[in-house]
Every structure is written in structure tokens, then in C-alpha cells.
Amino acid sequence: MGIGTSVLLKMNAEKVLEAMGVEAEVLAADITKAKRDGEGADIILTTPELVVLLEGMPGKIVPIEHVFDLTEIREKLSAALL
């Protein structure tokens, strides 16, 4: 849909990345756009239910259960960035 979950994940990922001192370009996309344009993404943050729809994308798929939990986002991003 590109207006809700993706926007929230982008906002909170940017907060976390800034706190971590990591420079990154973060784009919000709905599932259609992600599949169409997301081949260059190193990491794809999404919700657990959408992971299966992103299978085959070259980037690391990182499911976030609680989009407002900055600790969860930070832990999972840190692991994905290793």
C-alpha cells in the first residue's frame, strides 16, 4: 500500500541508523514496488507476514514484528549489517 507500514519502518529505521552512526539510503515501498524496484537493496525490512512474498530478492530480508520497537529494529539491523 506504501503509506502505512513502509513509512513507519522507514522513519524508525532512519532513527536507529542515525543513532548507530550508519549512513544509509532508506526507501519506503509497498510490496509491488519492493519487488519491482528493490533489487539493489542490501537489506529489506518488512513484517513477518510479507517475508514469503519477498523470497528471491537479493537483499537480506529482515522481519520486524513491532514497528515501534526501536530496540528490536536496532538489534536486527545490527545483525544484518555484520
Binding site: 500500500m1 503509506i3 502505512g4 513509512v7 513507519l8 509497498d30 507476514e49 514484528e65 515501534f68 526501536l70
Partner: protein, 148 residues
């Protein structure tokens, strides 16, 4: 920040302690509230329900909270929110965030002009205290006072 939320919540967009049997009924209430507050047409409610049917409970974005929404389209008259609380929490089929007590209906005219609104919404919903307040509130005026 909070006046952004109040502006997005038009007249008749807040329905508290609703009795709904399932996720679809709660989406119908959230959608009807967007229509009543002149943010969307009834088609948007259909779109939200279709989106959930297509993609599953990914809209249950945090414990107890569902963000009902669909793509921007001509069914959206103006960006806005509806706020629905459920008298009895409902299972939406989310692996980690069920049951749902708070349904936020979101309509946006495009993909980016509602960023401030999402930032305010994120700040509100990040607070357990706020979410508890909202799910226990019984009248609209206390919610509007809280948000201001």
C-alpha cells in the same frame, strides 16, 4: 505534533469500545468513520478489506494495534485518520501481535505528504501509556483532550 493528529481525526472519526466480531467488521467501522469524517468514499473501505485479504495480517504492526489502510486512489478525498477501539480484543491472525484492541484507519492522498502525520502517530503509539489510555477511553472528548 499532537495537533497534527487532531486535524487528521475529523468529526465522527473516533468510535470507542466498539463491538466487532472479527477483523472485517472492525475494518468496516474504521472505514465508515473515514467516510463519515469526509476523508474517503465507501470504496476505500472495500479497498482496505481487500488489502487485508490479499496480504494477510501484516497490518497488525505492534501488539494490539492494527493500521487499516489501502493504496492512495480516487477513493481518498483527503488524508485522514479514524480511531477505533474494541470492547473485546479480536484475533486477526497475526503471529506476534494479536489480539487487536486498537484499529487506526489511515487514508493518504499520496505516498509522502502525510509524513508529519505518521511521525505523530508513531510517537503516540510508541507509548504504552498512550495506547492503554486509548483502549480504555469511553468518550471522544477525553481522547481529543488527551491528543491536544
Amino acid at each position: 505534533m499532537n495537533s497534527v493528529l487532531l486535524k487528521a481525526l475529523g468529526q465522527r472519526s473516533i468510535k470507542l469500545q466498539q463491538t466487532c466480531l472479527n477483523w472485517k467488521e472492525s475494518f468496516e467501522v474504521a472505514g465508515a468513520a473515514l467516510v463519515e469524517s469526509n476523508r474517503t468514499t465507501a470504496q476505500y473501505t472495500t479497498d482496505m478489506i481487500q488489502a487485508f485479504e490479499d496480504l494477510g495480517p501484516y497490518m497488525v504492526i505492534a501488539p494490539g494495534i492494527a493500521l487499516a489502510h489501502a493504496r492512495p486512489s480516487s477513493a481518498v478525498i483527503e488524508t485522514g485518520l479514524s480511531l477505533i477501539t474494541l470492547a473485546t480484543p479480536i484475533e486477526f491472525g497475526s503471529a506476534s501481535n494479536d489480539p487487536v484492541s486498537l484499529v487506526i484507519g489511515l487514508a493518504a492522498v499520496d505516498h509522502d505528504s502525510h509524513i508529519d502525520l505518521m511521525a505523530a502517530l508513531s510517537e503516540l503509539l510508541m507509548s504504552n501509556e498512550s495506547v492503554t489510555f486509548l483502549t480504555q477511553a469511553v468518550n471522544e472528548s477525553e481522547v481529543r483532550t488527551y491528543l491536544s
